[in-house]
């Protein structure tokens, strides 16, 4: 237990809150990595998910992607991105391989499946009778998508974004392994130098950041999708985790 106390002491020591290796600087790096990756992943997966769900094409591959996404270790994705970057970047830019660039690529790749699947399932699960009724009222495909399917899919899409965000924030810690910044630095450096208090402090910061991300998205979901269920009591149902169902669970880091 002493280790935990040491970690907390490290955290309240003002020395550790300044400079390029201070907590604020590392938090800022972590946020940059996470936000950039989440935005790119969303820009790719959201439109694709809308299309798959609306046009009902490529569902099989979407589900398969989800399965594969779950079984490929985050560490593997990051490592491959790193070695590829080393190999592909021309000599002058080789230092870009250390940290930011491969991390962004890896995090984006890891964020895509869950957003894609949840968007697709969210759109696809809209009651076909309701779609039929909308057609009957003269809505065209675009109107059905934006006025009916997207609003109905919002809770699940938000769940997908939340899970992707938490996973990205967690995996961003691994950037330190390939020379990048972020909160993982405290763990990797502390472990190398046998500074347990630093390791523990880093772990606490990463855990706190993940939980805060989860909380933030949960609150956001509640405000973005109020009362879509008939009783209004819950924002979204929690379906059991079954393949081909919306992702409730993603690989951890």
């Amino acid at each position: 237990m002493n280790g935990l106390v040491d970690g907390l002491q490290w955290l309240i020591d003002p020395v550790n809150w300044s400079g390029i290796d201070g907590v604020p600087a590392r938090v800022w790096e972590h946020v940059q990595l996470s936000v950039t990756s989440l935005v790119i992943a969303t820009l790719i997966a959201l439109p694709l998910g809308l299309w798959v769900g609306h046009a009902r094409r490529g569902q099989f591959w979407t589900v398969q992607l989800g399965n594969v996404g779950r079984s490929v270790p985050s560490l593997a994705v990051l490592s491959i991105a790193f070695l590829l970057a080393l190999k592909l970047l021309p000599g002058d830019y080789a230092q870009l391989a250390f940290g930011f660039l491969p991390t962004i690529v890896a995090l984006t790749l890891l964020g895509i499946p869950v957003i894609l699947i949840n968007t697709y399932v969210g759109i696809q699960q809209v009651d076909q009778d309701t779609v039929e009724a909308a057609k009957g009222m003269g809505m065209d495909g675009r109107q059905i998508l934006w006025r009916l399917e997207v609003p109905m899919a919002t809770p699940l899409v938000m769940t997908g974004l939340r899970l992707a965000a938490v996973q990205i924030v967690a995996t961003a810690s691994l950037a330190a392994l390939i020379g990048g910044g972020g909160l993982g630095r405290f763990i990797v450096d502390g472990f190398a130098l046998r500074e347990t208090d630093k390791v523990v402090a880093g772990s606490i910061l990463i855990a706190a950041m993940s939980l805060l991300t989860d909380l933030a998205f949960t609150l956001l979901t509640k405000s973005a999708a109020p009362r879509l269920t008939s009783d209004g009591s819950r924002v979204q149902p929690s379906p059991p985790a079954v393949e081909g169902h919306p992702a409730d669970f993603v690989p951890g880091t």
Binding site: D6, P240, G252
Partner: protein, 237 residues
Amino acid sequence: MIGLVTAVTGFLAQGDTEPLIRWIWITDHTDEIVSRGLQHVYLTVVSVVIGFMIAFPAAVYASRHRWSISPITSISGVLYTIPGFAFIFLLLPITGLSLTTVAIPLVAYSLLILFRNTLAGLDSVETDVKEAALGMGLSRRQLLWRVEVPLAMPVIIAGLRIATVSAIALITIASLIGRGGFGQFILEGLNTFFWTPLLVGVVLSVALAFASDILLLALQRLVTPWSKSSGVRAVAT
């Protein structure tokens, strides 16, 4: 698919003296591959089994005492959200470099999945069926073991599949403290800029995940012969 792999490997090996896969490395490391594999399997089995031993009674309790669902879900949700990477290092000063340090985060991670699916499985049993069973004179215990659990099996096993596959991927992180199973090869490849161990680690880890998934699916088919014909809950593959 194979064509794609060949093309990619060909591209990667281009103009490089180092081949993507050095087969000699694999033959030189057979023993280590086996021992790392056993470690990977051992950690997976232990953590999923322990996780299930905690989550199952919790779900049975929650199915009868609905008020407990929300607190149990919240607690296991927090445990689920704490990244395994951080969790392992948080435990480091307490449990050291032992397998326990890896198993605890894995168990914590699996609880939410196993709890939610077990509960959903038990809840999916129709009230009619339960009422008729009680009406025929099954005791509460008989109802649980003879009716509810067998009928919940497809959903419970779906949860076990997800927990297992996720655990197998997650274990690789523990390579940082030397307990990462096949993940050890991934880390080695990363640290030495050497493709062979990296790819061996990735391929074996993913293969183990798929094999476990198929095994559990087969188990589900075996224990739920009735669902084949009725499509009670056909789990897509």
